[in-house]
Symmetry: C2
Subunit: 575 residues, 2 copies
């Protein structure tokens, strides 16, 4: 493609509102433009890359036997009412009605639609398992769509769904998808990690998020420094370190002390001259209407998902002020386990076991207990892993410890079980002729987000550095001075030759200054640059690799024979 | 792909609501399913064909240098308010609002969005001309979406837009697009006609509709039986036949006759014992507030578009009862030109010239004039082509006459001029540094409608007959009896061999009866069928062409060498 007439409106600057690197660079490289908050046009360069991402995803889906289809974006309210999500999905759901006042939504995801299709069309175990996928525009009315393609209100997604008659085939398809995702993100040149995710919240179903490692990511990943255990922050388990023996024989009897106005961990530790690590934090939760007091070391944070999981509850949340007062007799900040009756379940995090001489709330305003020992002074119904991990915590799988990283979620694989098929009466006849609910899995990739994630990871201070697999073009051919006939003649002939070979070439034939052209080339980030400059008359050209800056001269006749090697070299530093 | 696990839910019958052949066959072949009126899921078979249609369109767009991009479906109300279409587009426009109560629409077409993009990014003649296109889901809330994919509320479209600094390049791009459309619809195996369309309505800009010929089409095409003139019914011009000399010397003086209650052409002709062809029909229009009386032969129909064009009006419509009474003094049915003052423009269709002895309304209830002659008894300000053509009318280009046909509109190319750029202030600097409005063209193809139009044209009483170019698979391989080891072994090996060659094969490996398998194969309509049956042990297979029913036996080793020939043969009857 000749650059002269191609719509690549590069910019020298972009406004303050573009905070994320990918947002900034894609605007500056003339790849995207905003139509409304979170709603973007993909200009020709970006669309070329987007289609390459799509194609890689499609190939890997086809390879594991998933069948591509296309479901409508318009979805009737009735389907989402069957699963209750019409009411529970929240403000992100884009609702509308047609000319006959019939209610619709624009699909943010398609579990209901696909389950509806499959319940009508697949009724026997003989047709199972089956995996279906689509690449489609989705709509989510995000509250703060401020990160370019990373968080759009209209975005492209690959969503796949599998249906099974038994858990064995679900496990197999899940593994196929997991492996396909590994191949996809590897082919896309991404540095990523598959992490265990929030399984508790969905009743123990297995699921993994695929995270692209990036300082600017919204998610925190927990990774072991020794083994390959990785999880998201909400899900990571704390390994129990070899217990240090705690000897509490010398601890004096429990004693109530006045702590006027000290209703925070920080205030209590200052007032009593203790470390937060010597205090017990007591938090009251309500898990399916059951009051649960959770005890943690003062510097630790409770993990609601884990509490919910331990309590086998459907809902779990922190109690409000009024409930705390009613159940414990004390305001928030002075709550503790001492003296609570059987109607309150008392859970303690493992970390509480190792406190030598704990301080905790006295269930009385402006008072705390010191020397309050579990078992001796108060009851603990159960110990468990109830907190969010911190850096340096022990890995639950090996002797390693945790480090944190930031990530961008680009994919998710999930064993749904019968969550949707139960609600929607999606059943099949098993080999015994008995009706059973279909067992489901779902598997998503944010196609447009992937594009941004690539840029987030692969750019420098001059612009984007595309991996060859998704670069809008393979070669950026630049005629330095189009007033120089020799340059134009050689560049023209190289353009013909390369495109004739099936190489995708962006040919900068613009009458602009050399400096401006190189600046644009850096911005756009095509991996291999071929420069036809002053030595054109001698048939000498220059090549430059966008990633490493490595450059050299070549006789123009050598170019075609060197091309494969150079393109490979341009990606070399990727791995 | 093995048919056993592929989602192809064929049906023996479909409900009464599916009236159109394409709707019925695509439902029965397990290709589409309805989610709501006019909203369909494309199942795997249909999606494969759809992508082939897309690819052909894409190749031809790329070939003429159009650049692909992707605009958002969500469009802010503000953009459509700039052109006034937010209010004038009507109930087909799907409006919605976001969580902040900001108004949006779902694009039924993208003139505003692309003009908005281009006005921001293209500001100089140096960047012109430019042609941009996308393949995208569109939304139109049709009142009666009852024809399957032919008229959906959510559908796929290719829409292209070109921007120019002068009319010469618009003409050139228009011609490129016209030629590309010819190639596209030819490659798709369609019998189609490019027809001149409603140019008057848009201020004389040139435009063509591409019509697939089909008895079930909603549109009427007018075609000359001698030359290649073709137009849609609203636009076709009536050729003036060699005038027969009319001698009105003997016509008696005009005379008023009572015609009590005879307010229609039919009633007047019966009452006066005349033919409708001997009467004059007088219709009052209001063209931009100017009253216009249009005179036609009694059996002819007025063509509003032509009246509007002759009057060079922006708006033109039939006057209501009250206006007719006020302007002519008579109720509808008794209106005529005699005695009307200069404030009313009187136009007469050419057909009125050849009336020997006309009858017309007397501008008085229950009265008509007989022997009323133009020039002698009433004024005619202007003669013109003001009526809708009828079969047998003369061609305006040659000596031929018109015949009618039915068609399905699948494409439209249009010179928009500055209609949108004027409203939206989309300008560029010309070589003299002066600001001018961008000149535009737009070019659409209904991608999903094309798929249905192909089926509409290409089916028989057993099912669909796909042209190879868009068939979901190239070969339908059928193992007649999967309990027969020799058959399975041979079919399996052919499947491996063919797919290894890059041939797209649907392999019917189902344990069903042969009859059911053949019925499904006819329904699905893959052009070339390869049947592995009883002679498998001898290595003999049968082939059958879906279109002609032609069949023969082959040694399985010969299949690969014969394949290209057979696939070509399968399409042969197409041309």
């Amino acid at each position: 493609m000749r650059q002269q007439k191609m719509l690549i409106p590069t910019l020298r600057n972009v406004g303050e509102e573009a905070q994320m690197a990918s947002h900034r660079w894609m605007l500056r490289a003339g790849m995207i433009r905003q139509m409304a908050a979170g709603v973007y046009s993909y200009l020709p360069l970006a669309y070329r890359s987007l289609r390459k991402v799509e194609q890689i995803v499609r190939e890997e889906m086809d390879r594991i036997g998933a069948q591509e289809l296309l479901l409508p974006a318009l979805t009737t309210a009735e389907l989402w009412q069957e699963t209750g999500r019409w009411d529970t999905y929240g403000a992100e759901l884009v609702k509308l009605h047609d000319r006959h006042e019939r209610e619709f939504l624009l699909g943010p995801t398609h579990e209901e639609v696909i389950t509806h299709l499959v319940r009508n069309e697949v009724n026997s175990y003989k047709k199972l398992p089956i995996a279906l996928y689509q690449i489609q525009t989705k709509f989510r009315d995000e509250r703060r769509p401020r990160s370019g393609l990373l968080r759009g209100r209209e975005f492209l997604m690959k969503d796949a769904y599998s249906f099974h008659g038994d858990h064995e085939t679900l496990d197999a398809t899940y593994q196929d998808m997991y492996n396909a995702y590994q191949r996809i993100f590897t082919r896309l040149g991404l540095d990523f990690r598959a992490v265990e995710a929030d399984s508790g919240a969905m009743g123990g179903s297995e699921n993994h998020e695929f995270m692209v490692l990036s300082e600017s990511g919204e998610d925190t990943l927990v990774m072991c420094n020794a083994c390959d255990y990785a999880a998201n922050l909400e899900t990571a388990y704390v390994g129990e370190k070899q217990e240090q023996t705690i000897d509490r024989k010398e601890v004096p009897p429990m004693e109530k002390v006045a702590t006027p106005g000290a209703s925070s961990i920080q205030a209590v530790s200052q007032f009593l001259d203790k470390q937060p690590t010597e205090l017990v934090k007591s938090l009251l939760f309500i898990a399916d209407e059951q009051p649960v007091l959770v005890l943690l070391r003062g510097d630790h944070e409770a993990n609601e998902v884990k509490v919910k999981q331990v309590m086998e509850a459907r809902h779990c949340e922190l109690a409000d002020d009024e409930t705390v007062q009613r159940v414990t007799g004390a305001p928030i900040g002075f709550v503790g386990p001492v003296g609570l009756g059987d109607e309150v379940t008392i859970l303690a995090d493992h970390g509480v076991k190792r406190l030598q001489d704990p301080v905790l709330g006295a269930n009385e305003k402006d008072a705390h207990f010191i020397h309050a020992l579990p078992e001796r002074d108060f009851r603990v119904d159960r110990y468990g892993d109830l907190r969010t991990v911190v850096e340096g915590d022990a890995c639950p799988r090996c002797d390693g410890t945790f480090r944190f990283a930031r990530g961008i979620e680009v994919g998710h694989v999930f064993k749904l079980g019968t969550r949707y098929s139960d609600d929607m009466g999606a059943t099949f006849l098993n080999p015994q002729g008995k009706e059973e609910s279909l067992i489901m899995g779902c598997y998503g990739i944010g196609i447009s987000r992937v594009l941004a994630a690539i840029v987030e990871q692969q750019h420098d201070e001059h612009g984007i550095i595309w991996p060859s697999a998704v670069a809008p073009f393979q070669v950026h051919l630049i005629a330095v001075n189009v007033k120089d006939e020799a340059q134009v003649k050689l560049a023209d002939s190289l353009y013909e030759k390369l495109t004739g070979m099936g190489i995708q070439v962006l040919y900068d034939d613009r009458p602009d200054r050399a400096g401006a052209k190189f600046k644009d080339a850096d911005l756009i980030g095509i991996p291999l640059r071929v420069i036809v400059g002053k030595k054109a008359a001698e048939g000498t050209i220059e090549y430059k690799l966008r990633r490493t800056g490595e450059s050299g001269e070549l006789n123009s006749d050598e170019l075609t024979s060197q091309l494969t090697k150079l393109i490979k070299q341009a990606d070399a530093a990727l791995s």
